[in-house]
C-alpha cells in the first residue's frame, strides 16, 4: 500500500494556520495583563535571541563554519536601525519596517565584506578572523563619536519592539531560513558542511554559497540587533562584545548544531532561566558554563542533535500508523 504523504501546499497551510494561531494566542496573553513586567520583557528578549540563534545556526550548524563575531553583525544592524528610526524619514509603520530592512541590509553588506576574505580560511582560522572583525566593529563604533556617541551611548531610540513586531520577525526569520534550507540552495549549503572538496567537485560554487549563507545570517542578526535597539532604547558598543557572540554560540550549541527547533528551545530556556531561577541568579553563568561543558562531553551534537520538528511529518506518521494498523488487523483476521 502507498504511504500516506501530505502534499506541499497542504503542509504550508498547516504551518500557516499553526503559526497564526500561536501568534494571536500569544498576543492575547501579552495584552491581557496576566504577565508581569519582568515576564513581558523576558518574552520579548527571547524573541530576538531566537532570531540571533537561528541565524547563527545557519552558519554554524548548516554551513559547518564557526564564526565568533555574530555580535558584530548585530551591532551594525542595531546602530543602522536605531539611526534610521531616530532620523524618522518615513512616517509611522513604514519607518518601523524600513528601519528593520535598513538594519538587515547594512548587516548583510558587512557580512559580505567580512565574508569574502574570511571564508577563504577554514576552521580555527575562520573563527579567529571573525572574532577579529567583531572586535574591530566594536572599536569603530566606540570611536565614531559624532555618529554613534561612542561609549556614552546612543539614546532616545524609539521603542518600536512590541510583542507582535518581534514575533513576526521571529517567524519571518525562521520561515525564510527554513525555506532556504529546504531548497536546492540549502542542499548545496549542507553539502559544503559534509565535505567541501566533494561539494566543489560536484560543481557547487562553494565560495558563492558560503558568502550567501554568511550574508543571510548577518541580515537576520542585523534585524535582531534593530529589535534589540528598539527594545532597550539605548545602545552602547559594550553591548556587543565578544561575550555576546559567545552567548549566542552557546545557545546554538546547547540546542544542537543544525537543529532550528533546538536553537529556538535553547534560546527560550536560556533567556528565561534567570526569571525562573531568581534565587540562583548568582550561580546562573556558572550553571550555564558547566552545562555547556557537560553537554559537550556527553552529547557533543547538542541536546536536540540535528532533529527538527515538523507538524506535517507527525500527522503523516500518525495516519500511516493507523492505516498499517488496520491492514495488519485485516490480514490477521483473514488468516
Amino acid at each position: 500500500m502507498k504511504r500516506f504523504t501530505l502534499s506541499m501546499p497542504v503542509r504550508y497551510i498547516i504551518n500557516t494556520v499553526l503559526i497564526i494561531t500561536l501568534l494571536l494566542v500569544g498576543n492575547q496573553i501579552m495584552g491581557s495583563g496576566i504577565l508581569g513586567r519582568a515576564q513581558t520583557a523576558i518574552i520579548i528578549q527571547v524573541g530576538f535571541f531566537i532570531i540571533l540563534a537561528v541565524s547563527l545556526n545557519m552558519v554554524t550548524g548548516y554551513l559547518g563554519q564557526l564564526p565568533l563575531g555574530h555580535a558584530g553583525f548585530m551591532a551594525v544592524g542595531a546602530y543602522a536601525g536605531a539611526l534610521f528610526w531616530r532620523a524618522a524619514v518615513l512616517p509611522g509603520m513604514a519607518s518601523v519596517v524600513g528601519g528593520l530592512i535598513v538594519a538587515g541590509v547594512a548587516a548583510a553588506i558587512t557580512g559580505v565584506i567580512i565574508g569574502i576574505p574570511a571564508l577563504r580560511l577554514r576552521g580555527d582560522y575562520l573563527a579567529i578572523i571573525t572574532l577579529g572583525f567583531g572586535e574591530i566593529i566594536r572599536v569603530v563604533l566606540n570611536n565614531l563619536d559624532t555618529i554613534t556617541y561612542g561609549a556614552r551611548g546612543l539614546r532616545n531610540i524609539p521603542r518600536y519592539s512590541s510583542f507582535m513586531l518581534v514575533y513576526i520577525c521571529v517567524i519571518v526569520a525562521c520561515g525564510a531560513i527554513h525555506m532556504i534550507m529546504k531548497s536546492r540552495h540549502g542542499r548545496a549549503i549542507l553539502s559544503i558542511r559534509e565535505n567541501e572538496i566533494a561539494a566543489e567537485s560536484c560543481g557547487i560554487n562553494t565560495t558563492y554559497y558560503k558568502v550567501l549563507t554568511f550574508a543571510v545570517s548577518a541580515f537576520f542578526a542585523g534585524v535582531a540587533g534593530a529589535l534589540f535597539a528598539g527594545n532597550i532604547g539605548i545602545l552602547v558598543p559594550a553591548n556587543f562584545d565578544f561575550m555576546t557572540s559567545i552567548n549566542i554560540l552557546m545557545i546554538v550549541v546547547l540546542g544542537g548544531l543544525g537543529s532550528m527547533m533546538g536553537s529556538v528551545i535553547a534560546a527560550s530556556v536560556l533567556t528565561s532561566l534567570p526569571l525562573v531561577l531568581q534565587p540562583l541568579n548568582e550561580y546562573r553563568m556558572i550553571i550555564f558554563s558547566l552545562m555547556l561543558i557537560v553537554v559537550m562531553i556527553f552529547k557533543p551534537s547538542g541536546l536536540m542533535g540535528n532533529y527538527d520538528f515538523s507538524m506535517s511529518r507527525i500527522i503523516e506518521k500518525v495516519v500511516n500508523r493507523l492505516r498499517t494498523g488496520k491492514t495488519a488487523g485485516k490480514l490477521k483476521s483473514g488468516k
Binding site: 576552521g123 580555527d124 582560522y125 579567529i128 577579529g132 572583525f133 572599536v139 555547556l292 561543558i293 557533543p300
Partner: protein, 293 residues
C-alpha cells in the same frame, strides 16, 4: 611621554604577550586546540599571587613559585577533566568546551572574589625604583619583565630542543599515532605540554599584575585575546614565531598609543591580525597546512 619610553613600554607588554602566547602555541601545536581558557588561567594566577602576597604574607620568591605551581595545577586539572574525554571528539566540541571553561573560570572568580578590582601590591614582588640610562629613566620592573620573560623563553627553547621530553613533545605534535608506536605515552606528553604552557602563563600572570596592578575576574579575557592574536600573527604552533608575534603586538600597541590613537589600539591589533591571515593564513612562521582528499 617620550618615544623611547613608549618603546620600552611596548617591549614590556610584548614580553608578557609573548609568554602568554607561547601557552596558546604549545597547546595548539600538540592537540590543535585553541585553548580559550588560557587567558583566564592568567587571571587565576593574578589572584593566587595577590592572596599569597597579602593574606599569606609570603616572601616574593615563594609567592612567585606558588603562583606558577597553582597555574600549572589548574591547567592539568582542566586538561584531565574537560579535554581528555574529548580527545577523539570533533574539533568544534573541544573548542566550545574550552570556551565553556573560560566562562566558568571567570564566573567562579566573580563568585568567590566579587567583580570588584583589587589593587595588586607590585612593590612586594619586584623592587621599585628605576635606573637612568642616557637620561632615560627605566623602571626596574620593565627590566625585570623583559629579562624574566626572555629567560623563560630560553628555558622553554632548551626544553623543547634538547631534552628527551622536548623531543617527545615534538614527536607527538608531528604525528600522534607514530609517536605512540615509538613508545611515547601520548597522554602524559599532552598533559605535560599543558603544564608547561600554564607555568609560562603563571610567570605571565606575575608580570601582568605588576604592569597593571588591578586584579578583576575579567582581566584574562582581553589579555588572552591579544596574546592569541600574537600567537596567530607569528604562526600558531611555531615557538620562535610566537615570540616574534608577541613582541610585534606589544610594540605595535606602543606605536599606536604614541601616535595618540589610544582608543583605536584594540582595533589596530585585530586589523593587523586580519591582514596577516589574508596574506599568510598560517602566520609569519607557521607551517602551511596541506589538505588531503
Amino acid at each position: 611621554m617620550s618615544f623611547a619610553l613608549h618603546l620600552i613600554n611596548g617591549l614590556q607588554m610584548g614580553s608578557i604577550y609573548a609568554l602568554v602566547a607561547l601557552g596558546y602555541t604549545m597547546v595548539y601545536g600538540i592537540i590543535k586546540l585553541l585553548n580559550f581558557a588560557h587567558g583566564d588561567i592568567i587571571m587565576v594566577g593574578g589572584y593566587i599571587a595577590l592572596f599569597s602576597l597579602t593574606l599569606g604574607r609570603m616572601p616574593a620568591l615563594l609567592a612567585a613559585l606558588v603562583t606558577v605551581a597553582g597555574c600549572t595545577l589548574l591547567a592539568v586539572i582542566i586538561e584531565k577533566l574537560a579535554y581528555t574525554p574529548l580527545r577523539f571528539a570533533p574539533r568544534l566540541s573541544l573548542l566550545i568546551t574550552a570556551i565553556g571553561i573560560s566562562i566558568l573560570l571567570q564566573n567562579l572568580a566573580q563568585f568567590f572574589f566579587t567583580a570588584n578590582d583589587r589593587g595588586f601590591p607590585g612593590h612586594l614582588l619586584f623592587p621599585t625604583g628605576s635606573v637612568s640610562i642616557g637620561g632615560l629613566s627605566i623602571a626596574y620592573t620593565s627590566i625585570i619583565t623583559v629579562a624574566l620573560s626572555i629567560a623563560s623563553m630560553a628555558a622553554l627553547h632548551l626544553l623543547v630542543k634538547s631534552t628527551k621530553l622536548g623531543k617527545a613533545m615534538r614527536a607527538v605534535s608531528e604525528d600522534q599515532g607514530a609517536a605512540q608506536l615509538m613508545g611515547i605515552n601520548v597522554n602524559h606528553i599532552i598533559t605535560f605540554t599543558f603544564a608547561v604552557g600554564a607555568a609560562l602563563a603563571g610567570v605571565g600572570a606575575l608580570l601582568y599584575s605588576v604592569r597593571f596592578p588591578l586584579i578583576a575576574p575579567t582581566i584574562g579575557a582581553m589579555l588572552g585575546l591579544k596574546a592569541f592574536v600574537a600567537a596567530v600573527f607569528g604562526g600558531i604552533g611555531s615557538i620562535p614565531g610566537t615570540m616574534v608575534g608577541g613582541y610585534a603586538i606589544g610594540l605595535l600597541e606602543a606605536l599606536v598609543t604614541a601616535a595618540g590613537l589610544s582608543g583605536w589600539v584594540d582595533g589596530v591589533v585585530f586589523l593587523l591580525l586580519i591582514i596577516v591571515l589574508m596574506v599568510r593564513p598560517t602566520g609569519l612562521m607557521g607551517r602551511p597546512i596541506m589538505e588531503k582528499v
